[in-house]
């Protein structure tokens, strides 16, 4: 049994689902962050797998982009979370609802 692209896709889908579920169910900002990383990497996985399967290089390039963006996002996001935590002593996103309409 060879491990074909479909396996990778399935794994990515599962990872993505876990990530999405995490986003939807957890209220701790840090955990939500980790969930986002999970989703990003699920996408990365599909990119790499597709790249490999199709023999092109574009997918790998896209992955590099995603990684850079993710790194930047983590930096900014963590900084915000830390700042909020200092001020509010909580990391629960439900309590940060100033923008509620």
């Amino acid at each position: 049994m060879s491990v074909g692209p479909a396996w990778y896709m399935a794994l990515a889908a599962v990872l993505f689902g876990i990530g999405a579920l995490g986003i939807l169910t957890r209220r701790n900002a840090l955990v939500m962050f980790m969930s986002i990383e999970l989703m990003l990497n699920a996408v990365n996985l599909t990119f790499v797998a597709a790249s490999r399967a199709l023999g092109g290089i574009e997918g790998q390039v896209a992955v590099l982009f995603v990684m850079v963006v993710a790194a930047a996002e983590v930096t900014v996001g963590l900084a915000i979370i830390v700042a909020v935590f200092r001020r509010r002593a909580t990391a629960s996103v439900d309590e940060l609802a100033e923008l509620a309409g």
Partner: protein, 624 residues
């Protein structure tokens, strides 16, 4: 000398600038000396430059100073010809006398220097007006005299009535100016130039009859504003709020005659539009009569003179409308002398009576103020048209020319004659109420003759009023020969008095009318003051309530309309639409606001649902 004619303007200009910046430091009375000196120098220069014309020689001379608006071909250029010379001499001559008089009259005023600043500004502006070689410079002078008039009428600005009068004068003049401005547009669009030479020379071929009529009627609107003719005369009586020398100089002798000058200068255009010329004459005649009837009922000595000025300006309009340009300008000159004299005399009286202007509180001043009385008496007889004083010659020439035109013009002649009688009557009334009879002074008023600085100009003007008429008598048409080149240059035909015995008969008739006016006046006011009350007197005294009529028919509705536009239309409707747009957007946003729950996870659901939706859509289409 004619090449440096701009020096005539330069000296008063230097005076103006010096007084503007250093007026306070120069102080009283030196500011007055400085102002007077510059105008006297200008007068002397003008006299020298005018010498050539007296012999009937001397070409019209244009001096270009610099280009003003090149694409309009508009230069700052001066024209030195007999007409501008005559005007310049009147302006600087009478101006100089009134400057000197003002040194005495304005004595002790805290803004003494400022007064002479404005007077000099006026002289500069008026000289621009009469010396300009094109309608552009004329218009500059035209507006600047309006400015000086505004400044001087409201000179005592702490008095609300003076401030209001100044504003009224400027605004009413501006109404006339619109006519002038539109005339300039028509002239420019027709000729591509505003220079007199260009316009007048080519007028016959360029202007169609209708266009010529339009241009000249529009010029008439401008002239009627400046020269206080029907229906734009209302500002002049109020302008008497200004210091009396101002009334004498600006609102009697010079500025108000600018309209007459304009019509005379544009003779070449009016010749192409006989209808307009007739309208000018009719407006003049009606104004003359109308204002004379109002003058009869005035209690304020200056207001009598103000209405008298309007009436006399009407005469001048009648003359220039009848193409009797020489007669019109002649009357302009003589009127400048005797009316300035009357105003200065009135100023002297007001000064003596501790600023009392009501003639009912005067009387018996003859012995207290002999010089003032004697000189004013000359002016009184001159304006009434008693020979051989100045007014007789000029007024009579006008009436004779109008009579000579025949036809419907005879009606104007009749109006002129009636006006002459009324003039004699109200002037007699003024003289008797002021100088004769028993004193009716208020308590504590001690009349006295004015100082020499004030009486000297009176005497000078008295001499001029007595003899100025001799510059143009039927047997020696000196002034006519002097002015003729101006009109010959563009082949303007002058109307003339009849030949033969007729003018003598006409003269006798008008003198008889004048004498009758004086006699009636003397009879009525020689003794005790008649009580002038009742409906008719009220109406006349208030100038037939024309001001009120204008107020209710023009000013008030205009203000209402502005208010409606500002506070209903602009604020409610136009801005309402703008703010309404804002409100609508806000309402729309409000409806969408609940979507923004503030819960990150609810947004996550939205995103996920969207992603799934897209996925399903792509799959259902069978691939991307």
């Amino acid at each position: 000398m004619t090449d440096v004619i701009w020096l005539v303007v330069l000296f008063p200009l230097i005076g103006f600038l010096a007084l503007l910046f250093f007026g306070k430091r120069i102080g009283e009375p030196r500011a007055g000396y400085l102002g007077s000196a510059t105008v006297i120098v200008a007068f002397v220069l003008a006299l020298i430059a005018a010498f050539d014309f007296i012999g009937g020689e001397g070409e019209a001379h244009t001096v270009v100073l610099f280009e003003w608006m090149p694409s309009l071909g508009l230069d700052v250029a001066f024209l030195w010809d007999p007409l501008s010379a005559a005007m310049t001499l009147v302006v600087t001559g009478v101006g100089a006398l009134i400057h000197v008089y003002s040194i005495g009259y304005m004595h002790g005023d805290p803004r003494f220097g400022r007064f002479f600043t404005y007077l000099n500004l006026f002289i500069v502006s008026m000289l621009l007006l009469v010396l300009g070689d094109n309608f552009g410079v004329l218009f500059v002078g035209w507006e600047l005299v309006g400015l000086s008039s505004y400044l001087l009428i409201s000179f005592w600005f702490t008095k609300p009535s003076a401030a209001a009068a100044g504003k009224k004068a400027f605004v009413v003049n501006r109404v006339g100016d619109v006519g002038f401005l539109v005339a300039l547009m028509l002239i420019f669009s027709s000729f591509g130039s505003l220079a007199y030479g260009e316009v007048f020379e080519h007028a016959p071929e360029v202007l169609s009859g209708g266009m010529a009529t339009a241009v000249t009627l529009l010029l008439l609107i401008g002239a009627a504003g400046k020269s206080a003719q029907l229906p734009l005369y209302v500002w002049l009586p109020d302008a008497m709020e200004g210091p009396t020398p101002v009334s004498a100089l600006i609102h009697a002798a010079t500025m108000v005659t600018a309209g007459v000058y304009l019509v005379a200068r544009s003779g070449a255009l009016f010749e192409l539009a006989p209808t307009s010329a007739a309208i000018v004459a009719t407006v003049g005649a009606l104004t003359a009569l109308f204002a004379a009837t109002i003058a009869v009922g005035q209690k304020d000595i200056k207001r009598v003179l103000a209405y008298s000025t309007i009436s006399q300006l009407g005469y001048m309009f009648m003359a220039v409308g009848a193409a009797a340009y020489v007669a019109g300008v002649f009357h302009l000159v003589t009127h400048a002398f005797f009316k300035a004299l009357l105003f200065l005399g009135a100023g002297s009286v007001i000064h003596a009576m501790a600023d009392e202007q009501d003639m009912r509180k005067m009387g018996g001043l003859r012995s207290k103020m002999p010089i003032t009385f004697a000189t004013m008496a000359i002016a009184w007889l001159a304006i009434s048209g008693i020979p051989p004083l100045a007014g007789f010659w000029s007024k009579d020439e006008i009436l004779a020319v109008v009579f000579n035109r025949g036809g419907a013009w005879i009606a104007l002649w009749v109006i002129g004659l009636i006006t002459a009688g009324l003039t004699a009557f109200y002037m007699t009334r003024l003289m008797y109420m002021t100088f004769f009879g028993a004193p009716r002074w208020a308590d504590g008023v001690e009349p006295h003759e004015s100082p020499a600085l004030m009486t000297m100009p009176l005497v000078a003007l008295g001499v001029a009023s007595a003899f100025a008429g001799f510059i143009n008598t039927p047997w020696r048409l000196g002034f006519e020969h002097f002015l003729e080149p101006t009109f010959e240059r563009f082949e303007v035909h002058l109307a003339h008095p009849p030949d033969g015995i007729t003018p003598w008969i006409l003269a006798i008739v008008s003198v008889l009318v004048a004498l009758a006016g004086i006699a009636i006046g003397r009879r009525r006011y020689g003794g005790a003051m008649p009580a002038e009350t009742g409906l008719w007197w009220d109406r006349v005294e208030n100038g037939y309530y024309v001001d009120d009529v204008y107020g209710t028919t023009l000013v008030l509705p205009g203000k209402r309309a502005s208010q409606v536009m500002a506070f209903a239309f602009d604020a409610k409707i136009i801005d309402g639409i703008v703010n309404g747009t804002g409100t609508a957007v806000r309402a729309f946003s409000k409806a969408l606001r609940p979507l923004q729950t503030g819960l990150v996870r609810s947004y996550g659901v939205g995103i996920l649902a969207g992603a799934v939706g897209l996925l399903i859509w792509f799959l259902s289409r069978g691939g991307v």
